[in-house]
């Protein structure tokens, strides 16, 4: 097991001015489950492939277990990787697939057998050892790919979106299996995904990436509750956080944000910390409270333009008055509204987030948010 340290890592491709990965620094602790999360093209897979040694590092330092490995070829880094496509060797049986890496490392054949058996037991592959990959289901293939990594007993495991080819039910099950496996092996794992649910449920810490840069690193709930910028705020959460442009405006001496016709107090922020003109206001859909359109207090008013009953809950898409924009609100499943209805959405002050209108960085509130 090993810690993985990335220091100011860059990846530049010839002919493209913008680096694919830019100034990424990240310390993955020994035995940690770290998730790299971001939209496609954000550089997370490239970062993972650089750790694996499948891509060269343009600049910066990569250390595994304290040893700088920038110029160490993939085969000598003692790292295992699980690919999105599983990448099972189609001409080999499951047993041979599992043993392939060990044979190269000249592990005695008795030990290879023992390790293959034990990995097969852990993953429930015992009955499939003689089969070829084409005779396996998607879930079984995925487990073989996992097994191939486990038998190696590597310093660290890398996962490149390993669940995205599985159906929804199997994905949930495999997610839990992976978490269990991590506990069991105590291994360092770095897991790339664009699925925020996977990130939230599996990662001990998550590293959100955007445009080749690290946007935020932290424990899942901490990142969810205190997003470092508007991108992270929008990316985590389903449906995503509503982020709307507002004007900073004082009423009765109190600072607040004017959103079209509505006004929200911003008493949690120091007046000095607030920008002079515009600001981005964030509100999570689950924290908006459905009210009558004429309710008093910090309420945004508008007309319902879309209703999505999901069964457990209902999502309302509301066009705010005064052209402030559209917001999504998560309401109780029994709420009966139709497109065209006028509604009010109560915004608890503790549930508002503020971001700089230009840099989109979060503006910290005075007291700790719940």
């Amino acid at each position: 097991m090993a810690a993985v340290h990335l220091e100011n890592i860059y990846k530049r491709y010839k002919g493209t001015p913008q680096p694919a990965v830019e100034d990424v620094s990240l310390a993955v602790q020994d035995g940690e489950f770290m998730v790299l999360l971001g939209p496609s093209g954000c550089g997370k897979s490239t970062t993972l492939r650089m750790i694996a040694g499948l891509e060269s590092i343009s600049d910066g330092r990569l250390a595994i277990d304290g040893r700088v490995v920038n110029d160490v070829p993939a085969k000598d880094r003692d790292i295992a990787m699980v690919f999105q496509s599983y990448a099972l060797y189609p001409h080999m049986t499951v047993a041979d697939n599992l043993a392939f890496g060990l044979r190269r490392r000249k592990v005695p054949s008795a030990e290879i057998d023992a390790r293959v058996r034990s990995a097969a037991d852990v993953l429930g592959l015992g009955a499939l050892l003689a089969r070829k990959p084409y005779a396996l289901s998607g879930g079984q293939r995925q487990r073989v790919a996992l097994g191939r990594a486990i038998v190696r007993e590597p310093k660290a495991f890398l996962f490149d979106e390993p669940l995205s080819n599985l159906d929804a039910a199997l994905r949930v099950r495999t997610r839990n299996e992976l978490v269990r496996l991590h506990k069991q092996l105590g291994a360092t794992m770095i897991y790339v995904t664009h699925d925020q649910v996977e990130a939230m449920t599996m990662g001990q810490r998550i590293c959100v990436m955007n445009n080749g840069r690290v946007a935020q690193v932290g424990e899942p709930l901490e990142v969810y509750r205190r997003p470092a910028d508007a991108f992270v705020a929008r990316f985590l959460g389903n449906p995503p956080m509503n982020v709307l442009k507002a004007a900073v405006e004082r009423r009765d001496g109190r600072p607040g944000a004017r959103l079209g016709g509505g006004w929200l107090p911003l008493s949690r922020w120091d007046a000095a910390a607030l920008p002079p003109a515009d600001v981005l206001v964030g509100m999570r859909p689950e924290e908006l409270q459905l009210q009558a359109p004429d309710a008093a207090g910090p309420v945004l008013r508008g007309a319902v333009v879309g209703v999505e009953p999901l069964g457990a809950e209902t999502l309302l898409l509301v066009e705010l008055d005064g052209g402030a924009g559209e917001v999504t609100a998560r309401v109780h499943r029994d709420v009966r509204t139709r497109p065209g209805d006028r509604v009010g959405l109560g915004v608890p002050e503790a549930a508002t987030y503020l971001f700089d209108a230009v840099t989109e960085k979060a503006i910290a509130a005075r007291e700790v948010q719940p």
Binding site: K75, S85, G101
Partner: protein, 290 residues
Amino acid sequence: MTELAIAHPAAGSLAQSATRLLRRGGLMAAVVLYTLYSALPFFWVGTMSVRTTSEISAAHFAWPETFHWDKFRTAWVDSNFAQYFWNSTVVVASAVAIVTLLGAAAAHCLARYNFRGNRLVYFILFSSIVFPPQIILISLFQVLVEYDLYNSRLGLTIVYVSLQLPLTVYLLEGFFARIPQDLFDAAKMDGYSDFEIFWRIVIPVGMPAIATTVILNFIQLWNEFLFAVVLLSDQESRTLPLGIRAYMGDYFQDIGMIATGMMIAVIPVVVLYAFFSEKLIQGMTAGAVK
């Protein structure tokens, strides 16, 4: 009971099954006709191979009255076919082996590595397929004489390798390029070097395509006449097609022995095809269906 049920189908489905029957019948007829078209001449040569030339002259298409199996012995021993057969085997087998290894390695490099001039090399190779091979015949003759390779099996082997290499690379490159990159990355993570990956992953995974090129090259070279007749003159180094040619004189053609020689020559091809036809079809259709 089931017959009864079938006897009273709705009028629509009756018409439907009649159309299907007609279509299937038409297809069958076409297949049968094509089989006859290609098998009958072969069968005819087969009958001629056990008849003497005078018998054939008397009645071209007659069934053999007596089967002259001894003609095969005559060809094999007296007409030196044993030597020709051996020459053909040595030249073709080594040329096919070299062209397969070399072609697979080249195709792998062109398909997988992004080096400067990759597409240029590919284009030059590919463009050489377009030209008819006859245009290099005379210069090739000169070159072989120059290097003391004229009239030698080694010389012909080298020529055969260079003749078949472009098409082999072209066919294999197309197949290898479709092998997912993840497979290579996985093998790299498993600790294998580039050459080991080629040997342990590319070759076995690409086997259907490789088998196809082996069979195509073998058949092509086994029957090759033009280059052999120009580049070989000694009886000792002749290949089978030249051996058959030897039965053709200026004034007389020993049709009976030609047929016998052809049957001897065709046997390895038939055997090879019988064993590998399934692989051949697999290789040719690989990738067509995902």
